[in-house]
Subunit: 343 residues, 2 copies
DNA sequence: CAGTGGCATGCAAACGTGTGCACGCCGGTT
DNA sequence: AACCGGCGTGCACACGTTTGCATGCCACTG
């Protein structure tokens, strides 16, 4: 029916009129049924269901003053790290009758600010992932709005960190136990909390050992640029490469293949995020992060408590887990300089 | 400030009071500035900006009766096909001052129905991608609501199709020109419009030629299950494999590697969606789809015209483009005639 | 039988914005 | 000088829902 008109949605007053009750009664049948006679509730709900009544969120938000909406801000929806989080957030939010509003900032600070203002005005809480905002603006924001950060470790704010630290330490320990003594860390874009944490974890785990570490970064974080950085990566003759994420690790593996270096016989590779799983050859050892748990928890935290109160500062770090696969193996005997001391 | 209170947002009446004008005037300064003296508009806008005023979307939606919201429903946010579309939709929507509400159905029909009802109630239009709803429900829906479908070809509805048809035909022609005569089509999940279109295109392109085609499907559509379907895929001894999407194509390539079959010397492979680009070895020939264009166009179409009127039925097919890469080559001379290696 | 208390429901105001209508003012025409 | 038209602004109501308070009814108690 091309020329047809959009059917107007039934409202509470229409149902009330048809049933000969007051609109308040209909309202209460949904929001405070215990105040009503059970039989009345039943009658109203039946009539509402029959007419396909759905409460108008705008009217409700306006009346109560609290929009049942949670804003979720991410740098880039198309980055495969975020969709599973978004999905998880949606699922738990809908259980408490909340709507999740998604927005992406494009990694641009100015845009992030605008988005935050716009979203804050229409949601009761904000969840901001991987914020690029300067610290001063963050704290100013947190005492005006209910906001929870993911992967941004700012003191005196509510935050959840999807951490790879413990797992990376275990990964390094494992590599040491396999005889590796020459490491390369191939980092990602500068400035993100994740890059700082991961690099820090590797450095720390190697502290006090006799092992060698060479670090570099692929600013773009792409597969292609990683392939192009061959010289840099192989410069120090590492036997183990730890990558900032799986995309970079994938680049490293293919780079090694291309140079005729076998994985893991000559060089072991460990990724992070565990997004590629079995799709590399050989299957990539990686660190599975608890991003989905973080999203769930985030929504849970912001939905509880009085919406008129700010969120209490807290720091929650969810530790990921090392998933060992075929890209990890013993260090090549021949490359190991004389001292093969057990730990 | 942990114990602090959420700052109340400034409203139109506060600004009006401070400036000694009526609230209508302030309202008009934003929605109908041409009715006001330019100087008044300027004064009000300055005061509003200074106080950080942002129009309350709920009040506005309630008052005008039109929520400036577009619902976008996809089967699965985490499916890499959709995030770029979501992103594109958001970008064009924000230019016309619309908010895009995302929801995913999990591929479940019951859930899809619930989501549609919920979203329809609070948005002025719906964009539904890859709907699994039965035809009868679709047409019933379209004469109650403003809804536009993506990748669902239902007559008498407004729809946009992200098509691979023409490009697939060209791809098959190209393979024929390269001497290929034995084809395999490895399909994806049944029931989707895309699967029907792609399989149909391949069948059609081979019609009237002397070439052989064997078709099968990987119902799960995963890399792992594709690897596991080796026997089925190689049964007819194809020299060219066309896959439903890049994930399956990736599985096929690695499967061939594992069996010592070289690509493209012995078998050529073509994917679809062009999501993996250069990350396979060798880089995968694929069909780049115009999903982003489709999303943009969809938002554009639903935002124009009177919101009280239904969308006019129309059918728009956006044709993708073949991107030829190293997995495509000439058919092997030796294998071409009768002899095939059983596995 | 009057008084009391509790339960079920109605009344009306409020949330913030948009908009049809009315009003006053000013410059120009008759 | 009376009139008119148009421009700029204010008044008041509407949108759909929630909620504090009032009201009526009933059963029970003294």
């Amino acid at each position: 029916m091309p020329g047809g008109r959009v059917r107007k949605a039934p409202t509470i007053v229409e149902i009330a009129r048809d049933l000969g009750v007051s609109s308040s009664t209909v309202s209460r049948a949904f929001t405070a049924p215990r105040l009503l006679k059970p039989e009345t509730v039943e009658r109203i709900r039946a009539a509402a269901a029959e007419r396909g009544y759905i409460p108008n969120v705008h009217a409700r938000a306006l009346s109560t003053g609290v929009p049942r909406t949670i804003g979720l801000i991410v740098p880039d929806i198309a980055n495969p790290f975020f969709p599973p989080m978004i999905r998880a957030a949606q699922r738990v939010a809908e259980q408490s009758g909340h709507t999740v509003l998604i927005a992406d900032t494009d990694g641009d600070v100015e845009r992030e600010k605008r988005i935050i203002e716009r979203l804050a005005a229409q949601s009761e809480s904000l969840i901001i992932a991987s914020s690029r905002l300067p610290s001063t603006e963050l704290v100013e924001l947190t005492d005006r709005r209910r906001v929870l950060f993911i992967n941004r470790d700012e003191p005196d704010t509510a935050r959840i960190l999807v951490s790879a630290r413990d797992a990376l330490c275990r990964g390094v320990d494992r590599l040491l136990a396999l005889g590796h003594r020459r490491f390369a860390y191939v980092g990602g874009p500068a400035g993100s909390w994740s890059e700082g944490e991961r690099h820090g974890a590797v450095v720390e785990a190697l502290q006090g050992t006799r092992a060698l570490l060479r670090s570099l970064r692929i600013p773009s974080g792409t597969y292609e640029d990683t392939m192009a950085a061959g010289e840099q990566i192989l410069l120090s003759g590492p036997t183990a490469v730890i990558a900032f994420d799986d995309v970079i690790a994938h680049g490293v593996i293919d780079l090694l293949h291309r140079r005729g270096i076998s994985v893991p016989e000559q060089i072991s590779v460990v990724g992070c995020d565990d997004t590629l799983a079995l799709t590399t050859q050989p299957p990539l050892a990686s660190i599975a992060l608890r991003a989905v748990d973080a999203a769930r928890l985030a929504v849970q935290i912001v939905s509880e408590g009085q919406v008129s109160e700010m969120l209490a500062p807290r720091r929650i770090a969810l530790q990921g887990e090392l998933v060992e696969r075929a890209t990890v193996g013993a260090a090549p005997e021949t490359h190991c300089p004389g001292r093969e001391a057990p730990m």
